[in-house]
């Protein structure tokens, strides 16, 4: 599994590329983040889609029994929206800006889920592993 810090770095790299190809890459990184949450809670990440997107199906799966996970519901929908804007008009003059915004939204999803995993004591983000994660141990 990819550590969250690595996912954050990949998000930053895709955002900086400012190319339309980053749209699906950022969506996939969002799916990776939610898959980590589902796995950490003992589930198998779904391969189904909702409204045409796996990210939204994963969010629904991740929110089962955890209502507070809905705090990232609109963040997921925004990531899909930003991705769609880029894919629908790859030659648009605002594509660079749209990729940047998609990257910031993906980053927020990553930070939010990472924070929730730490608070919930799940995966590598359990409190006792914080020092290892931050490299201060």
């Amino acid at each position: 599994m990819t550590p969250f810090a690595d996912i954050e770095e990949q998000i930053d790299a895709e955002s900086e590329s400012a190319t339309p190809l980053a749209a699906d890459a950022l969506l996939n990184l969002g799916e990776e983040v939610l898959s980590r949450w589902v796995e950490a809670r003992g589930g198998t990440p779904t391969v189904d889609t909702r409204e045409g997107f796996r990210l939204l199906a994963l969010h629904r799966q991740g929110a089962k029994g955890e209502p507070s996970f809905n705090a990232c519901r609109e963040t997921c929908r925004e990531l899909v929206y930003q991705r769609n804007l880029i894919v629908a008009e790859p030659d648009h003059p605002d594509t660079g800006q749209r990729v940047k915004l998609a990257g910031l939204v993906a980053k927020h999803l990553c930070l939010f889920v990472g924070g929730k995993m730490e608070v919930s004591g799940l995966g590598e983000f359990c409190c006792s592993s914080r020092e290892l994660r931050t490299g201060s141990g």
């Binding site: 705090a71 519901r73 963040t75 929206y81 930003q82 927020h108 930070l111 608070v119």
Partner: protein, 309 residues
């Protein structure tokens, strides 16, 4: 046109507006006075149960919220309570839902209310509204435009609602009802009001994202990163100001903006003001009456530079 029933409502400021969110309290009252909407503070109100009680005993939290509504309805004769804090607003709405749908919660609330010596709140006695509902439906955009004295001059604003204002959907049955109602997917009441006051709203993709308020004590770095990402996104959208409508989000944005610079060396310039402070400026209310001097970050020079005073 505004709804007559919101002209005079019971006001539940909650604990935050008595402390760290005092400027929200001041500016809410000042805006109400400027537009002719009356507030009568709930007598002897208590904490809504916020997160602390809710995490330990949700039924006790429901009782605490129900007591506020009981006083407003049974001792003061109101049918509407306005709560500007997202946490209070959420908890009163949740209590309303639970008391309409859960027999165990009703029983617990009856027992505790009897023990405390006040009438038991019954679902349906009170409609809880947010400060956004109060102004939007109390006077509406047209009413606001008529009263604007010093428009916001195209100030670029990112409207930040936070994650508690719209979720969970089932406790907000009045939302998502089409034209004129608030949306839980894409909230717009703050956008509507500030546009009427002369602001230019930017498209802001993190308007309902989490500010990290819940992580502040357990992992301050995580909160700072979440806030920093919100601030950077607002700036990337071209915003000069982030407008807030929740004291927890507002305090978090202000404090972690400073911390992000101190701890991570990442400085952001976007200003953070309550939407009521921005509306107040547009209505010609003096900054001091809006508590702008009470905010953690200094926005006065910016406000003067923009010609808003």
């Amino acid at each position: 046109m505004g709804e007559q029933k919101y002209k005079k409502v019971a006001y539940y400021p909650g604990c935050a507006l008595d402390g760290s969110g005092h400027s929200y309290n001041r500016s809410t009252k000042a805006v109400g006075k400027a537009v002719g909407l009356d507030l009568v503070e709930v007598k002897n109100w208590n904490c809504c149960g916020a997160m602390e009680v809710k995490n330990i005993d949700p039924k006790l939290q429901t009782y605490l919220s129900s007591r506020v509504m009981s006083i407003a309805a049974n001792e003061m004769g109101f049918d509407t309570v306005m709560a500007p804090c997202n946490g209070c607003y959420h908890n009163l709405k949740k209590a309303e839902y639970d008391l309409a749908n859960d027999a165990d919660t009703i029983e617990t609330t009856e027992q505790l209310s009897t023990k405390a010596g006040h009438a038991t709140y019954e679902a349906g006695q009170i409609e809880t509204i947010h400060a956004l509902d109060w102004i939007k439906q109390g006077i509406g955009e047209d009413g606001l435009r008529e009263r604007v004295k010093n428009g916001l001059n195209g100030l670029k604003v990112a409207n930040y609602y936070g994650c508690m204002y719209t979720r969970p959907r089932h406790i907000f049955p009045e939302k998502d009802k089409g034209d004129g109602s608030e949306s839980t997917y894409e909230p717009h009441f703050m956008d509507d009001l500030l546009e009427a006051a002369g602001a230019e709203n930017v498209s802001f993709p993190l308007k309902t994202a989490c500010c990290g308020g819940a992580h502040t004590l357990s992992d301050s770095d995580m909160s700072t990163k979440l806030v920093l990402n919100i601030l950077k996104t607002a700036e990337a959208c071209g915003a000069e100001v982030i407008a807030t409508e929740c004291p927890t989000c507002h305090s978090g944005l202000e404090m972690h903006q400073i911390r992000a610079e101190k701890e991570f060396g990442q400085k952001t310039e976007v200003k953070i003001l309550y939407f009521t402070q921005l509306l107040g400026l547009a209505l010609g209310v003096r900054p001091r009456k809006l508590g702008i001097h009470e905010n953690v970050s200094d926005s006065m020079s910016f406000i003067k530079e923009k010609g808003l005073v």
